[in-house]
Symmetry: C2
Subunit: 582 residues, 2 copies
């Protein structure tokens, strides 16, 4: 062992002890006759002191050569520190060094190894191994481990079995694009990396393992958006002999447990909202309910006057922005510009100031009187001092725009407190969504999702209206989990495949083994999958996942540290019977 | 919830309770006026009873239609069983059914869902989801989960952090063949799937996370031998600021903990043997030490007579087979035939019977007298009643042959008790091995393994003799883990690369990022990786890993259940800029 203590361990009680420490030189201060060195490891920082009078000369001279990030081992005596540092746990002591060994020298790192580094994102990614030395990154990785352990402990205690499903599976054209893996032993054939272990977990249910989970890597070859990774981690779960209610209860339990164990936060029973209500009230299927500003639909109280913009709109809706009646003209103009940005896409915005004296002042006073505006205030829940922002147009677009505005204002008003946790179940998702481009229905969740029994008849008459036994768990405006009760009846599954435009042959080729399995006694089952990277980030109070991943890829799917992907040898290609055809 | 109890839960204390159960029909016995059904789920079997007099007629009639593996839900009353079944925990009761719902019918499964099934290996693999319903397979998956949890609990308590390393990495020609993954976003370039997270865990050490572990899938595109899988699971571990002794202690602790927690077996301090001694005593670097039969080297006591076969041999060595002096001529001839099989490859075998009266009878009595043979007995540790088997020839071949014979005899003599655990550290492995084909040295462990400091000078004078700080953990004749102290000095690493025949450019292209990382202060570090599939199998008392894997692949690397790998669409190939070139 290179050390008798870590650099985060020594206290006043250790004074006079002979100790051995090892770690990295965080910084050194050379006062000529005295040198102080901050020695750092994973556990903390301990101050070393080299003293011309008390330290052997050769050791003192070596101490003079130490550069940042040198790796050293020292022996010495713990002594009381003259000027104590209350900011660090080891601040009461220092180690008077009697011997030193430089284990490894270090070039000057390309950025400072400090909590607030001078390194930009690109540089930090290229030298990720140095970035990990920084507390903010290191602590996130340790935090991730802790969350993973708690997830496993909870589910294991609940009788779930973690089963490893295969990574080399079969490509299915449905859904996102697969990463594929050429097989050398089966020429011209390919494995695919799993987008999720969906079919395998269903097969485990058929196999009688009625409570399955797995913390597992999944892969999607998508054009990457910011904060998406081609490989990501899921907490994948499935249960048999359960109904939707059972699944919501178990995984609400898991989430409560994590909030309690990890964050010390007690939560009430999670509220539930239907997809339809979520869209109506928040314009969004993953509403952030840490704050209000619910939508008020104003069609009945805004379409009776000569204001054509509203009269020709499918939806007129507004939100009451708390305390924003005091916004200046300039501030309001900026808001209007904000909603007109192409990323949001509104044509304009009507506003109403709710004055403290109970009167209203709006941008459409020409058309609407105080009585009209009072009704708007009622519908949006606006109080004196609030500002009502109103958008209008096509329903879906207006909702999306108003949702964006709501989130932006919440951000500006400081209503998105990272240390507050507002979980929410969104239920009754539509079963299908119409895809304009391919002119066919897509499964909103996936093709194995069960329609709600009461909506079964809609599958023939009006498929787009059918709701699914599908649910999302939303935390602070982020979907952290989603799942469904599965179809476990062969015939219903066949009907679903044909609704989704699969021919019998296509369905057979892609899902034959699952359909086949269903012939031998499939139990009712359902499940959920959590985006683990996202869950950890949100529990950690952050919105971006990248620093919770040890070695993330950039937006082009590259690992800039190891410089992958990269060309491979011609021999390798030949063995795989492949030619590159650019 | 479809059930108020599982099928393994009800006891006499539940008598008179109204219960709901769900599960699969294991079997039913129809006596006309009375029907008994064994209902099965993951947790056990409960006997249901349908009685013409006490069960509603419609329910009774439905019960008559139940086939094997039907999925049903029943309501009923727990009653005392007349003829109790002491073999199952629920054997004291049965459930008098008042209501039944057939949740799903089932075709007759292609093999019986019994502990001893009539299904052959191929059929069981094709219908793996049915195979998993069988206790022997299900129990192994549950067992695997339990081992994984205990591994994580132990390492987590010891301060290790589980860090997920990437799956989409970079291909390195060194070592086994990589599976590669074409990148769509980086045309003509490929990721590789990791053969192990080796370089990443070393980078984590450079990053200061001084105790890392991960239970992680790894991939090797090898021509499959029996009981090898293209994807397999490792417990991958690395520590910084440690010496070999520290690593052996920590992971001996893990192994002891598993044996205690999982098997209830207490073990002494694990014995250690050098690679050289293991080869000398057992002809094998993973000796099974549950039994003796250590090799006796006989050159000094067998090369002084006119027996040319021995006199021209590099090695003459024998083992004493306990109690085998009573073997008949026929039995011995069979043994000789066995060692002469091409898989073993010996040219013949000399034997000595150690008679109960202290005399010897050998197949080479023409050449050796009683005094000679007494010396052989001494060298091999043979006692009265034993049979000494002697092989000779080239040292390496003879050792391999004698090792095979030793294992075979132990098997025949019942000395390989699956419930006995004999762990062993093998240390001081050679650093390099000479490859006749490519006429260069290969790293015996991997190119990052540190030579023993005292053997550093041999790197110039006689590289093949240099020993490494490398170690294997052997359990019952299987290598369950292996690792090494790593080189953490750039210059030594460069020397290793050049010894291994890498040009500077090749080393830079493949390991540049690691070499680069070492410039910024690498701590001394080392690690170990356990083959998790194998470890679980051995703890489970089995030698084959396949049933400890939920969805294994066959020897051609195929998943016969999902029929993967498979051809992919031309569109997919085009997007990847690939052409198949058979």
């Amino acid at each position: 062992m290179f050390r008798s203590y870590t650099c985060g361990e020594l206290r006043s009680t250790n004074i006079n002890e002979e100790v051995t420490l090892a770690g990295w030189v965080q910084k050194s201060r050379d006062k000529g006759f005295m040198i102080w060195v901050d020695l750092r490891d994973r556990y903390g920082i301990t101050q070393l002191i080299f003293d011309e009078e008390r330290t052997p000369e050769s050791v003192f001279n070596q101490a003079k050569t130490l550069g940042r990030e040198y790796v050293v081992q020292v022996k010495g005596t713990v002594i009381e520190r003259e000027s104590k540092n209350k900011n660090i746990p080891t601040g009461a002591i220092e180690v008077l060094v009697s011997d030193i060994k430089i284990l490894n020298e270090a070039e000057t790192p390309p950025f400072t190894i400090e909590d607030n580094t001078d390194g930009g994102e690109d540089l930090r990614m290229k030298y990720r191994y140095l970035d990990i030395r920084r507390n903010p990154v290191k602590d996130k990785l340790v935090f991730r481990h802790k969350v993973a352990m708690e997830v496993r402990n909870y589910l294991s205690k609940e009788g779930f079995i973690e089963v490893e499903t295969p990574y080399l599976i079969k490509s299915t054209p449905e859904g996102a694009r697969d990463f594929v893996v050429p097989s050398r032993m089966n020429e011209g054939q390919f494995y695919a990396l799993p987008q999720s272990p969906q079919t395998f977990k269903q097969l485990l249910m058929v196999g009688g393992l009625d409570k399955y989970f797995q913390i597992v890597k999944c892969f999607r070859d998508e054009d990457l958006r910011a904060d998406r990774q081609p490989e990501f981690t899921q907490i994948d779960c499935e249960m048999a002999f359960v109904e939707q209610e059972d699944i919501l209860n178990i995984f609400e339990g898991l989430t409560k447990y994590l909030l309690k164990e990890i964050k010390g936060v007690e939560t009430e029973k999670f509220p539930r909202i239907t997809y339809a209500d979520a869209m109506r009230k928040y314009g969004n299927d993953k509403p952030d309910i840490r704050f209000g500003m619910e939508f008020g639909e104003l069609n009945t109280v805004a379409q009776h006057k000569d204001f054509n913009v509203f009269n020709t709109s499918e939806l007129v809706a507004g939100i009451a922005v708390p305390g924003a009646a005091s916004y200046t003209r300039k501030e309001i103009d900026q808001l209007i510009d904000w909603v007109k940005r192409p990323q949001v896409g509104a044509k304009g915005m009507v506003y109403v100031k709710c004055n403290d004296d109970g009167t209203y002042k709006s941008s459409v006073d020409k058309f609407y009187d105080q009585e009209d505006l009072a009704k708007w205030a009622e519908k949006t829940g606006a109080k004196a001092g609030d500002l009502i922002c109103v958008l209008s147009g096509n329903t879906n677009e207006t909702r999306a725009q108003l949702s964006a505005l709501r989130m932006e204002l919440a951000e500006r008003l400081g209503l998105r407190n990272a240390h507050e946790f507002a979980p929410l179940w969104v239920v009754d998702f539509p079963l299908l969504e119409w895809d304009e481009e391919t002119e066919r229905y897509h499964a909103m969740h996936h093709p194995f999702t069960s329609p709600k029994p009461e909506d079964l008849s809609l599958l023939e008459s009006d498929p787009g209206k059918a709701r699914a036994n599908a649910y999302d768990l939303v935390l602070n405006g982020n979907e952290i989990g989603g799942g469904s009760i599965r179809i476990f009846d062969q015939e219903l599954q066949s009907r679903m495949f044909s609704l989704l435009g699969f021919t019998k042959e296509e369905a057979e080729a892609q899902f034959g083994f699952l359909m086949n399995a269903f012939k031998y006694g499939a139990p009712p089952h359902g499940g959920i999958a959590f985006g683990f990277d996202r869950l950890v980030a949100i529990l950690g109070g952050q919105e971006t996942i990248r620093d919770y991943i040890a070695f993330p890829k950039n937006n082009a799917g590259r690992d800039v540290m190891i410089d992958a992907p990269a060309p491979i040898d011609d021999d390798q290609l030949k063995e795989l019977c492949l030619k590159i055809d650019l």
